[in-house]
């Protein structure tokens, strides 16, 4: 590419004082100000009164939650994959054995303690991606607040409460064996 010499535009004497340019700039900003107050208003969404919830995209990543399926079984088998992949290590799992006389004894493992520390959670969605049992999903709520650090740790009951029941999942534990 050959070099192109860019010429500076020649300014008249009045233009060199930059006062006309400043004046034109002020006209632009003041027009914006007048339009904002009297015309179509501001682009800001006034948060607690107006929210974006009705237009939230399908892939929005909110708080993680555990789900039960149509047969009432908790889907998590405490494989601890989500615990290991979680980048800020917000998930803490303690697995236990499912007793012999339970209906789902062939699953063999379930979490005794499953805690997600919402202060550490970064809502990345890696736990949802890695779960082999389709047990953990990210929901659409984003305003998780609390008044103490203990309150912000979601334990197993709370997680199932947020998660609810999810239908249409793969039920591989339904086989005969």
């Amino acid at each position: 590419m050959a070099t192109i010499t860019v010429k500076r535009p020649k300014l008249s004497l009045l233009e060199k004082t930059y006062l006309p340019a400043i004046f034109k700039g002020m006209v632009i900003t003041l027009t914006h100000a007048v339009k904002t107050v009297f015309g179509k208003g501001r682009v800001t969404m006034q948060y607690p009164e107006e929210t974006w919830d009705s237009e939230m995209p399908e892939h929005y990543r909110g708080a993680p939650a555990l789900v039960t399926d149509e047969q009432g079984r908790e889907r998590c088998v405490a494989c601890q994959l989500c615990e290991f992949i979680c980048p800020p290590r917000a998930i803490a799992i303690l697995p236990e054995e499912i007793p012999e006389d339970d209906k789902w004894a062939k699953v063999e493992k379930r979490p005794k303690v499953f805690e997600i520390d919402m202060i550490r959670c970064i809502y990345c969605g890696l736990c949802e991606e890695v779960c082999p049992e389709q047990a953990i999903y990210l929901r659409k709520d984003y305003a998780i607040v609390g008044t103490s650090r203990e309150e912000m740790v979601h334990d197993k009951d709370r997680l199932y409460e947020i998660g609810g029941v999810r239908t249409g999942l793969v039920n591989k534990w339904n086989d005969l064996k």
Binding site: I22, M26, T29, H32, A33, K35, T36, R42, V43
Partner: protein
């Protein structure tokens, strides 16, 4: 030392200092709101009265800011020079506030105690007479005092930058110092034509001349003694307008305000000379900058826009209607209840002065969010080459006009 003078001065200090600090907090709120509106968004619009639902369009925001500055942790980093670190914010705020002592906030204030006070009150109360100019110190060297004291701000900034013992504050402090001392020349020189035209350095007298003859930048007086247009003052308007432009631009540079805010801009220097400061010390810098802005606007209003006077010589009418000799039902009732004297004119003129100062502060805010920043060499060139020469030539022109054309 006269006791009446002492008490009057203390009351004036309290009132004017209170008004100025109120204007400072209002200026922070106004800046955020107006800049937001100019950028198609809302500014702070929620705070209002604390703990209630009354929003008041966010006017309680300065209260929230003040509380934040008070309760935030104020720590001094280990690597600073402690004495100068703590001294610097004071050196920025105090000269800015000292200069408000010469600004004439209103017309002369005269008040006599009303007649209905019962006789068992002491004599100094029932026959009290107050007559005081509405400036804390009616000095005969107003502008000189202002510039001398305002130059002390440079020390504050250079100490802040130097004592912070770190790269960015150091650069910010150095840049700011050289910028401020460069524009002080233009500031002072640009005012000399104004002083030649006025013939006096007493700020109160300048305003009184403007209230009779019309403002400096609007030299028309329709009422009063010198009614009518005057071709001499319109001829002088051209160099005085140039002096006004140079003065305003130098004022922007003196208060480190965009487009001259290289010392504290975020893109170049993190936060410039106040990087290492937290909570209350930072608040002092902040308040000092806004106070300097307000006082500078006050000076500009006093010199160029007639201070506390109404335009077009309307002040004569004001004295007719609200002065000591006014004779209609409202003023008669007020004089009998509160006391005789010119106090109504003084209060109204104080309102006029504050309205004008608010107008120029709004101009400061609009310019800040309209104009891009100067490059440092452009800034220095402007101060030393353009303004210095133009101000000098301006002085010669006005002096020649006044001496040879107008014959004094």
């Amino acid at each position: 030392m006269d006791l009446a003078f002492l008490i009057a001065s203390l009351v004036k200090i309290g009132v004017f200092f209170g008004i100025t600090m109120g204007l400072v907090s209002l200026a922070t709120y106004g800046e955020r709101r107006i800049s937001a509106i100019m950028q198609d968004r809302s500014g702070p619009n929620r705070v209002g009265v604390p703990y209630t639902k009354f929003r008041l369009a966010g006017l309680g925001q300065p209260i929230a800011d003040g509380i934040k500055f008070l309760v935030k942790e104020d720590f001094t980093p280990g690597h600073v020079k402690k004495f100068y670190f703590i001294l610097a914010p004071c050196l920025v705020l105090i000269p800015a506030l000292l200069t408000l002592s010469v600004l004439p906030f209103g017309a002369h204030f005269a008040h006599e105690a009303p007649g209905w006070l019962p006789d068992w009150l002491p004599a100094w109360l029932t026959s009290a007479k107050v007559s005081t100019p509405m400036a804390i110190a009616d000095l005969d060297v107003g502008p000189l005092f202002v510039f001398a004291i305002a130059s002390l701000t440079v020390y504050g900034i250079v100490l802040a930058g130097w004592s912070s013992n770190s790269k960015y504050p150091f650069l910010g402090g150095i840049r700011s110092t050289s910028q401020m001392i460069s524009y002080e020349i233009a500031l002072g020189l640009s005012l000399i034509p104004v002083l030649i035209v006025f013939g006096t350095l007493n700020l109160n007298e300048m305003v009184e001349q403007q209230s009779r003859d019309g403002w400096l930048l609007l030299p028309v007086s329709l009422f009063g003694e010198n009614a009518g247009l005057d071709w001499q003052r319109w001829l002088l308007w051209i160099p005085l307008m140039i002096a006004f432009v140079i003065f305003m631009v130098s004022l922007f540079a003196e208060t480190n305000r965009t487009p001259f805010d290289l010392p504290e801009c975020e893109t170049e220097l993190v936060a410039g000379y106040h990087t290492e400061y937290s909570s209350m010390k930072f608040a002092l810098f902040f308040m000092g900058e806004y106070a300097a802005m307000i006082i500078g606007s006050g000076i500009a209003v006093t010199l160029f826009f007639g201070g506390w006077s109404l335009p077009l010589g309307l002040d004569a009418k004001l004295y007719d209607w609200f002065g000591a000799n006014a004779d209609w039902w409202l003023m008669n009732w007020l004089h009998s209840v509160v006391g005789a004297g010119d106090w109504a004119v003084a209060l109204i003129s104080m309102g006029v002065f504050l309205a004008k100062v608010v107008g120029i502060v709004l101009f400061f805010i609009v310019i800040r969010w309209t104009v891009p920043r100067f490059r440092y060499d452009q800034l220095m060139k402007l101060g030393w080459i353009w303004f210095f020469e133009i101000a000098l030539v301006n002085i010669l022109i006005v002096a020649a006009l006044v001496a040879f054309v107008f014959k004094g």
